[in-house]
Symmetry: C2
Amino acid sequence: MSQKMVRAERADGIKSRRNILNAAASLATTEGLDGLSIGSLAEHIGMSKSGLYAHFGSKEELQLATIETAGAIFVAVIIEPTLLIDDPLERIRALCSRFLDHVERRVFPGGCFFASVSAEFATRPGPVRARVAEFQKGWMAMLTELIAKAQALGSIDAREDPPQLAFEINSYLLMANLAFVLHNEDFALERARTAVRFRLDCARATPRSLHRARSVRAGGNGEKLRAPSA
Amino acid sequence: MSQKMVRAERADGIKSRRNILNAAASLATTEGLDGLSIGSLAEHIGMSKSGLYAHFGSKEELQLATIETAGAIFVAVIIEPTLLIDDPLERIRALCSRFLDHVERRVFPGGCFFASVSAEFATRPGPVRARVAEFQKGWMAMLTELIAKAQALGSIDAREDPPQLAFEINSYLLMANLAFVLHNEDFALERARTAVRFRLDCARATPRSLHRARSVRAGGNGEKLRAPSA
């Protein structure tokens, strides 16, 4: 048993509960949240089953607590650091960038916790699926609201449909996560970064701003052009 | 046993193997391919476990045969009907449309078989994951190749990067599938249709074609404008 584990075992109940749940959130992305039996988790963190039962009465309770923990990690790693960004368009860019970074840094070893668990529970109605779906809806609502704010400020074209644009942006993130985890394709994250940049540039492009973008381009931007407004 | 009886029994065997695998492919999208034990499948199709063992020696053999069956269904429902479309850009549109239709019609009750199984096996290396990844790579390669062909014909802007565009298009399909299955959101499919249309319109848009698109728009297309080239 490692020093770290020994310390965790000696710590008070709250801290130990947190450690258990952190381990559970990680393990869920590789073994599945349903594969997360109290027995397997106990073995993984080197704790007795009865010790775990003292914290969680049932498998579902453990699963729901694990989702809350993963949600708190998601908020701390991706959302909180962007709270001070005033400009909504810049904040969308920062959220996407942080999401992709958290996949790349393997904050969870099996990629995005919510993508992983939502795929697993997609066809199994119940409290677990409901909570995961709620979390994802919150994320989409946040993106949608930021897009609407950016429209109000004139930095995103008023003709864009906010939930539609949020859908497209989130698509790239989800696809990159899956390709990174399934195929170990690092470049999938770069593709998503490119896609987000391009799509948000499109969204900014009113005929007038397109005109400007084109002039800037003609003025000597040597980058490979990917699309009219890039 | 007469020749005729042997032939009949063999035919029954093939037919029954096919029925088993069709059921397995469906069940895998709701229960998971790993949840697909020979026991649960036997119960689901009302067959004895020993009857099933006559067809498949092991769980992995059953899983791999199920993937092949799902692949054949995918090809028959989505790819084959587009084989006679000469224009590569039109063929890409048809493939996307057919993919979304197959999700909507619940060809597999839990949505796209490959999205479902690849999420399940993303972090479990082995022959199952390898085969699913291979199938998905084939799909991406097909989209990429069609984009390159459309570029050669001048219907997609030469400045688009084919694997990047394939990534973006496939993102919408994957996201729609997940939202449809997880949230029962029918409109997710419509969002993906809109996204594919918009992105391919962008991809066609050279400065000159953008100019044309804008003139058409100014000429009385009353639709809500979603972006500069829509």
